[in-house]
Amino acid sequence: MSAQALERIPLDPPEPPSSGRSVRRVRFGRWGLRSVAILYLGLMVALPLAAIVSKGFGGGVASLRDAFSQPGARQALALTIEMAALVALINAVFGTVIAYVLTRYRFVGRRLVSTVVDVPFAIPTLVTGVMLVALYGPNSAVGGFLVRHGVHVIFARLGILVALLFVTLPLVVRTVQPVLLEMDRAEEEAARVLGAGRLATLRKVLLPHLRSGIVAGGLLAFARALGEFGAVVIVSGNILNRTLTAPVLIAQLITGFKPEEAAAIGAILFGLSFGLVLIVERLVGRRERESHA
């Protein structure tokens, strides 16, 4: 999966054919397809969105207040946002380094590393959590060692961090990589010829070009980390006010027959995610226009 694909959803489709007889037929067909697409969008997206927002915000500000008065809700949202931001930052840095290394350097096993980077895309998130328990749980060599030295990964925030870093890594790498690939190296070479050092080239030439890619990747990672359930639910222990994240809390509320409270917190989480998607669209759209200019 690449953010390349995200970019390539076109804003200007080609002109439809306009020769005589086929026009009427095409118009019918177009509406046939369009109705399916509209049905899909309506059923699959508009409707659920409306349901959540109306249930969650139906009572107005009062229902928001109720949502926050739910024990653990405020802490869960705070923890979720905090973890997601941290993860986005860390992976923005390391993901860029990895993308750079994979794109610019040649070394033995490069293909393998590239495939390994994609592993989190394929592995079920729950299995990610299970892997972390296997590695860092008290019964393993590594886990036992860490626990004895006071480092708790399982049933602690560190576990949440590691799980989220795992699942969001390929998002950043695969968003930055295409930008690196497309980059015209002429500017960099010119800078070096003119005497700029490596650090200066990095700051003044490379990073500005990569910036939108890194930010987009970071935002995607942030959005993904906000909503992560499977990897977190097994590793964190879901301890109220400690390691309980918003998605897990929502799941608990819904399966505990508290749909209004779930919807209120869910609407907030949904709003955040949707906002992020819109921002990324704008960023990517702007970069498209810039590169086509």
């Binding site: 067909g29 049905l39 008290p138 626990v147 301890i239």
Partner: protein
């Protein structure tokens, strides 16, 4: 293009309906709102149980299924079980979870279901008072008991990290608190005077100062402890023994004075009747009191016998030590008093203790 549009639409509709048809046939759809229920050829019993008894009830339901098959011309009964914090489960049932039988960890949680109008018979008059198993509250410590925990007062020592669940969600949590309270009130804890509710409150304050986290169920609390957090978990004895037998490193420490947890299992009349399974549900609950079922409670669940006089005895096979001073909730005033005033009431020992630790 026109054909594609129509075909895709048709395909989607067909798939959706097919999916719906497939799904509709396989679920527990004997429930009809209002009107008479429809008996199913393969009846389904839905069980809502507290968090730590998945293994035991797995065996119990399967033993019951075998017995029912033999006695009823090969009729199969299906059990759908859900496990969670006892109080949370009771609230779920009150909020609409369609349980036919509730296996909860304390009587007040059954009352939650009763107050919702779902239990219409006087269940306290059921055989054995509806109690199906007992187990004392104990301490779960690390191998070698490095913090030398022996009594309730040891839990108040500085630097001891305690795990116990959240009483608003877990039945086990309430048992733990009542055990500490009762031991203190009975004057069995050194340094805390008998019949002194302020001393009992001080004990609870000291303990909860050391509680690092309150998980949402007894099961979660135990797993938290097993994952390496905390120095001691206050828990059900049967859970500690199961963990120890499973090589999880749990070690039981029996306090000199503790409460005997008595867990009730009751038929939810309204739901069972609506699902047309009332006779089967009743038969299942009755089965739980038979010697066969009781031996499953013991061997699989590490529970003690229902009769308190038997429960105090040691059982070498199950590694259950003899109980020293053990009491039931009736001995310290009964659940109503404990919940409404002495322990969990607005001025109760625990309510005040929690306020003191938070402040």
């Amino acid at each position: 293009m026109k054909l594609i549009g129509r075909k895709a639409w048709l395909a989607f509709t067909v798939l959706a309906l097919a999916g719906a048809a497939c799904g509709g046939s396989g679920s527990a759809s004997a429930l009809k709102s209002g009107g008479k229920c429809v008996p199913q050829k393969t009846p389904v019993i839905t069980l809502a149980a507290y968090s730590t008894v998945y293994d035991v009830y797995g065996k119990l339901t399967s033993a019951f299924q075998d017995q029912w098959k033999t006695d009823h011309d090969g009729q199969s009964v299906i059990f759908q079980s859900s496990f969670g914090g006892s109080t949370t489960q009771a609230q779920n049932v009150a909020n609409g979870f369609p349980a036919d039988v509730v296996a909860l960890s304390l009587a007040p949680d059954v009352e939650i279901v009763q107050k919702a109008g779902l239990i219409t018979h006087d269940w306290t008059k059921d055989p054995d008072g509806a109690i199906v198993a007992t187990t004392p509250v104990v301490f779960d410590v690390r191998p070698g008991n490095p913090k030398h925990i022996a009594d309730w007062s040891d839990l108040t020592k500085a630097g001891v990290q305690i795990l116990t669940p959240d009483p608003s969600q877990s039945g086990g949590a309430k048992w733990n608190i009542v055990a500490a309270y009762g031991a203190s009130i009975r004057g069995k804890v050194t340094g805390y005077a008998a019949s002194s509710s302020s001393d009992a409150q001080n004990l609870l304050t000291g303990i909860f100062n050391d509680v690092t986290v309150m998980d949402k169920s007894a099961n979660d609390s135990l797993k938290n402890f097993q994952s390496g957090n905390g120095d001691v978990a206050i828990s059900y004895e049967n859970q500690v023994l199961t963990g120890a037998a499973g090589g999880k490193g749990d070690v039981e420490v029996l306090p000199p004075s503790t409460v005997l947890i008595q867990t009730p299992t009751v038929v939810v009349d309204k739901n069972a009747a609506a699902h047309c399974v009332l006779p089967i549900a009743k038969a299942f609950v009755q089965f739980l009191h038979t010697p066969d079922a009781q031996s499953i409670f013991a061997s699989v669940g590490n529970f003690r016998p229902i009769d308190p006089a038997e429960a105090v005895k040691a059982n070498a096979d199950l590694k259950q030590p003899a109980l020293q001073d053990v009491f039931t909730t009736d001995d310290i005033g009964g659940w109503d008093q404990l919940i409404d005033s002495t322990v969990f009431g607005p001025n109760g020992a625990f309510t005040q203790a929690l306020k003191a630790t938070k402040g």
